[in-house]
C-alpha cells in the first residue's frame, strides 16, 4: 500500500484519537442495540416452541377445550382453531374488497382533491386507533343490539384491517406505470374497465401480499374479540350467531389460569397462532418476490 521511496514516507494517517474511538463506540452501540432486540425475540420464540411443540398434535388442534383443571394430555383447542379460521376469514371477506376499493378511489379517482387527501390522512390515523377501542365500538353499535357472534368479532377485526389494506394497496397502485393506463384509454376502455382489467391485475401481487400481512395481524388480535365474541369453550360452526371463541382469546383466558394443564394448552395455542401468522408472512414474502421478478 505504502509507496516506498528512498526516504521514510510521512504517515499522513491521523493517529488513533478520541474522534476515532467515538466512531468505534457508536458502531459498537448500534450493534448492541440490534443484539438487545434479538435476545427477547429469540427467548420468546424458543419458549413458545419448546413448550408448545410437545403438546401440539392433530388431536390438540381438533379436540374440544376441557375444563382448566384437567392435565395437558386431555383435550385441545379445536373450537378455538375453528373460531379463529372462520372469524378471520369473514373479516378478510369484509375488509379486503372495501380496502382495495378505497385505495382505488384514493389513487385512481381522488387525485389532488381535498376529500381524497383527507381520506388518505384519516386512514393513516385510523391505523393508530387502539384495537380495544374497535372492540368497544362494535360492542356499542352491534353487540348491544344483535348479541355476541363471530360476525361481530369479524366486524371489529375488519375495522382494524381496513386502513392497513388501504395503505398497502394504495402504495402498490402508485407503482403501476401511467403509460399502461393511457394505452388502455387509447383503446377506448372506460375508467372502471381500465382499473379492473389493467391496473388491479398489474398490482395484484403487491395487493395480495399486503392483504396477507393485514390478515396475519388480525388473526393475532385479542382485544377486539373480548367484547364481541364472548370467549366460550364449545365449538360454534355458525359464524353469524351465538358466542364464539378464538385462539388469542383462549390464550388470554389460559394465561391467567393457575392450572398447569391450562397453561400448557395456552402455549400450544400460542405456537399454533404464531405458526399461522408466520405462514401468512412467508406466503406474502413469496408473492412479493414472485411479483417483483415478474415486473422485471
Amino acid at each position: 500500500m505504502a509507496v516506498t521511496t528512498g526516504q521514510q514516507t510521512a504517515d499522513l494517517r491521523e493517529p488513533p484519537s478520541w474522534r476515532r474511538s467515538k466512531n468505534r463506540i457508536a458502531t459498537v452501540l448500534m450493534i448492541t442495540a440490534f443484539v438487545l432486540v434479538i435476545i427477547p425475540l429469540g427467548f420468546v420464540l424458543y419458549t413458545v416452541i419448546a413448550k408448545g411443540i410437545s403438546i401440539i398434535s392433530w388431536q390438540f388442534l381438533t379436540a374440544s377445550i376441557p375444563p382448566n383443571v384437567l392435565p395437558a394430555s386431555i383435550g385441545g383447542m379445536g373450537p378455538a382453531v375453528v373460531g379463529t379460521l372462520e372469524i378471520t376469514a369473514l373479516a378478510t371477506v369484509l375488509a379486503v374488497p372495501l380496502g382495495v376499493l378505497g385505495a382505488v378511489y384514493l389513487n385512481e379517482y381522488g387525485g389532488n382533491k381535498l376529500l381524497a387527501k383527507i381520506i388518505g390522512f384519516m386512514s393513516d390515523v385510523m391505523t393508530g386507533v387502539p384495537s380495544i377501542v374497535m372492540g368497544l365500538f362494535i360492542f356499542s353499535i352491534w353487540v348491544l343490539h344483535f348479541g355476541y357472534s363471530g360476525l361481530a368479532g369479524a366486524l371489529a377485526l375488519g375495522c382494524l384491517m381496513l386502513p392497513i389494506v388501504i395503505r398497502s394497496t394504495y402504495e402498490m397502485l402508485r407503482l403501476v406505470p401511467d403509460p399502461l393506463r393511457e394505452a388502455s384509454y387509447a383503446l377506448g376502455a372506460s375508467k372502471a374497465r381500465v382499473t379492473v382489467t389493467v391496473v388491479l391485475p398489474t398490482a395484484l401481487g403487491g395487493i395480495v401480499s399486503g392483504a396477507l400481512l393485514a390478515i396475519a395481524r388480525a388473526a393475532g388480535e385479542t382485544a377486539p374479540l373480548l367484547f364481541t365474541i364472548l370467549t366460550v369453550t364449545t365449538v360454534n360452526r355458525n359464524v353469524f350467531s351465538g358466542a364464539n371463541t378464538s385462539l388469542p382469546s383462549q390464550i388470554f383466558a389460559n394465561a391467567s389460569s393457575p392450572y398447569v394443564g391450562a397453561q400448557a394448552r395456552g402455549w400450544g395455542a400460542a405456537l399454533t397462532l404464531i405458526a399461522i401468522a408466520f405462514i401468512l408472512m412467508v406466503i406474502a414474502r413469496l408473492v412479493t418476490a414472485r411479483f417483483s421478478r415478474h415486473l422485471r
Binding site: 457508536a26 442495540a33 420468546v44 378511489y105 385512481e108 356499542s140 374497465r193 394465561a255 397453561q263
Partner: protein
C-alpha cells in the same frame, strides 16, 4: 373537445362512437362504489366517537369533572380514571425511553453501517417482532419473564434504598408484574414500527450531504451527527410519536403483566394499572355505571391516540414534503 366528438360517418366502421358519449352506468357506479369505500373510513371514525360516547354518557354526566379523580372503587360506585391515565402515561414513557434509542440505533445501523445484503435479513428479524401477537407477549411476560425479572427487581430495590431520586423510582415494594415489566414488554412491541419509520426517514438523506461530510474528513459518527441527524430529526420525532400512540393503546400484553392494581405511585417496580388493561380485565363483570366508566375510558383513549396520531402523521408528512421539495 366538442370538435372531436362529431363522429365522422365516413370513418371506419366501429370507430364511429363519439368520444364524449355518456359514461356507461357501470363506470359511474364503480366510481361511486370506490368513493363509498373511501368515505367508509371517515364514517367509521365518526361512528366510533359517537357510539362509544353515547354508551359512556352516564359516566360523564354522573361524575362530571370527577372522572379525573383518583378514587377508583367500583363497589362504592366511585369511578375516577386518574390512576389509569397515570398508568398509561408511565408505561408508555418507560416503553419510549427503552425503545427509542434502540430503534434509532438499529435504523442507523441498517442505513449507514451494514452493506445492503446484510440489511435485508436484519429487517426480517425486526419484522418478526411485529409478527408475535400481543397475547403471546403477554403469555410469555406473565409466565416466564415476570418470575425471572422479579429477583432482579428485588435486588435493585434494596440496592437503591436511601438514595434520593432512585429510591422513589425503583425502591419500595416490588413485583414481577409491574409498571416496569409492562413498559419493557411494550418496548419490544413498538420497536419494529419506530425502527422501520426512522429507517424510511433516514434513507431520504441525500447522498451528497453524506459524501460532503466524508470529504471534509468526518468519521462515520461525525457524518451521522452532522449530515444525517439534522436532516431526519423531525421525521424521527414523528416516528416516536407513532410509537407512543401504539404504546398507549396496546392492551392484552399489558393487561396480563401490569399487576392490576389501581394505584398512583412513583414506584415503577410496583404493580399498577392502565386504561386499556382495566377495560380488558374488568369489562366482563361490569354493568351500568361501571360499564359506562370503562367505555368512557375507551373514549378518552380514542381521543388521546387520535390527537397523537394526527400530530405524528402531520410531522412525518411535513418533513417528507420538505425533503422532496429540497
Amino acid at each position: 373537445m366538442s370538435a372531436v366528438t362529431k363522429a365522422d360517418p365516413a370513418g371506419p366502421a366501429g370507430s364511429a362512437r363519439p368520444l364524449s358519449e355518456r359514461r356507461p352506468l357501470g363506470d359511474i357506479s364503480f366510481q361511486a362504489l370506490a368513493l363509498a369505500a373511501g368515505l367508509l373510513v371517515l364514517v367509521i371514525l365518526v361512528l366510533i366517537a359517537i357510539s362509544t360516547s353515547q354508551q359512556a354518557s352516564s359516566w360523564f354526566s354522573t361524575e362530571g369533572v370527577k372522572i379525573f379523580s383518583s378514587t377508583w372503587n367500583p363497589s362504592a360506585n366511585q369511578f375516577g380514571a386518574l390512576p389509569f391515565i397515570y398508568g398509561t402515561a408511565v408505561t408508555a414513557i418507560i416503553a419510549l425511553v427503552i425503545a427509542v434509542p434502540v430503534s434509532v440505533a438499529i435504523a442507523l445501523l441498517l442505513t449507514e453501517v451494514v452493506p445492503y445484503r446484510w440489511s435485508r435479513p436484519i429487517v426480517y428479524v425486526i419484522d418478526l417482532l411485529a409478527v408475535i401477537p400481543s397475547v403471546v407477549w403477554g403469555l410469555w411476560g406473565i409466565l416466564v419473564f415476570a418470575p425471572w425479572i422479579q429477583h432482579i427487581y428485588a435486588s435493585v430495590s434494596s440496592g437503591v434504598n436511601g438514595i434520593p431520586v432512585l429510591d422513589s423510582l425503583f425502591g419500595g415494594p416490588t413485583s414481577g408484574a409491574s409498571f416496569f415489566t409492562a413498559g419493557i414488554i411494550l418496548a419490544f412491541m413498538i420497536t419494529p414500527i419506530v425502527t422501520s419509520l426512522s429507517r424510511e426517514v433516514i434513507a431520504t438523506v441525500p447522498a451528497i450531504d453524506k459524501e460532503g461530510a466524508y470529504a471534509l474528513g468526518a468519521t462515520r459518527w461525525e457524518m451521522i451527527r452532522g449530515a444525517v441527524w439534522p436532516h431526519s430529526q423531525a421525521g424521527v420525532v414523528g416516528a416516536v410519536l407513532l410509537g407512543l400512540g401504539r404504546a398507549m393503546g396496546e392492551t392484552i400484553a399489558v393487561a396480563l403483566v401490569i399487576g392490576s392494581s389501581a394505584t398512583i405511585t412513583s414506584h415503577l417496580l410496583a404493580p399498577g394499572y392502565n386504561m386499556p388493561a382495566v377495560i380488558a380485565n374488568e369489562f366482563g363483570e361490569a354493568s351500568g355505571l361501571f360499564r359506562a366508566a370503562l367505555i368512557g375510558m375507551g373514549v378518552l383513549l380514542f381521543a388521546f391516540t387520535i390527537i397523537i396520531n394526527v400530530i405524528a402523521r402531520a410531522v412525518v408528512e411535513r418533513s417528507g414534503r420538505r425533503k422532496r421539495g429540497a
